[in-house]
Amino acid sequence: MLAETLRWPGEHQRVLLEATLRHLELSLAALSVAVVVALPLGIALTRAPGAAGFVTGIANVLRTIPSLALLVLMLPLLGTGYLPAMVALTVYGVPAILLNTYAGVRSVDADIVDAARGQGLSDRQIIRRIEIPLALPVMFAGIRTAAVQIVAAATLAAFVGGGGLGELITAGMGTLDFPELLVGALAVAALAAATELLFAGLERGIAGRRRAS
């Protein structure tokens, strides 16, 4: 079985490549939309104390919902395919980014913000020039968490017809093709580890630049 597993990628290059690309495409699309939605929302919540408690409460509940449940709940709403998987993964990634953005901006020293306001900076300028740069490490930590979660959960997209590397696992399971099953599992594990390392590196880069400036 080991020899067959080692031979499998060479014999099925296209299948493996297409599944990997689909997995990346799905994850990247979901992460991008999650960032575009959650970052502005997180910042807006710091300006709306009334809504903040309610929205962060929802985000906290959303965070506990199992990834498989979130994915399959899209089936009655959107059917099978790429879109329901993408939407579910986006919803899955939003809480980490939203909560970290909100917490990061809130943790910015009030004295600094007051000083900036005293110098005549508008709220928009304070957000752009003071709060976002200072909150960036915490905000990015949220994006990192979301990225790792999305890449891992994208494996389950195979159950809703969304494609990706999980499909090698389900196909291998369906036909009892263990080499395919194992290659799929190892590829997913490698992709998740690579995502983790990439984002950890980016996070260090951001922290390093802040210390240098």
């Binding site: 709940l73 089936l75 890449v151 999980g166 696992i169 194992l182």
Partner: protein
Amino acid sequence: MSWTFENYDRLLAALGEHIVMVASALALSLAIALPLGIWSARRPRIYAATITLTGILYTVPALALFALLIPVMGLGTGPAVVALVLYSLLILVRNVAAGLRAVPPEVIDAADGMGFAPARRLLRVELPLAMPVIVAGIRIALVMQISVATVAAYISAGGLGDIIFQGITQDFNEKIIAGAVLTSLLAVVADETLRLLERRLRPPAGLTDAG
């Protein structure tokens, strides 16, 4: 909604299987993580090695870990519980060690001064003070295990995921929704319950800076 009401016994059975699977996994992971956390808390090298190793396990996506265990352990609840345990080690060991390290040195000195033997000091002083942080870790591990256990139905481990996968193969939306909503409810209730426990365990502010 008629299927849900007519088959509530099947849903309850699946819920029961889910809870038993997660409870055994949590008990086993605590039996491993508590000693490991206590042992590594004040040994930086061992701690670093433990966190690296359990961290690698933690990044493997659930479905992949189940697939990798098939050649070794086959299908069923056994490999599912093993996977759940492997997943929770990082969170639990980290929080046990963090909780113990946050115990103020003065408190430990005081216990030593009162003649506490190390084992008694650990049980009566250090672990109680570390408990809120340990329970916080248990909360995160438990919610994660409830989520991963849903996928375990794919390797014939039963539980609420079974209802979901049946719904998918039969193209029967109500079953999918019933399974997914029940799993989500279980996760939310477990999270809230342990959050309350965590809050109750926290000593009143000012008594200690642990946690």
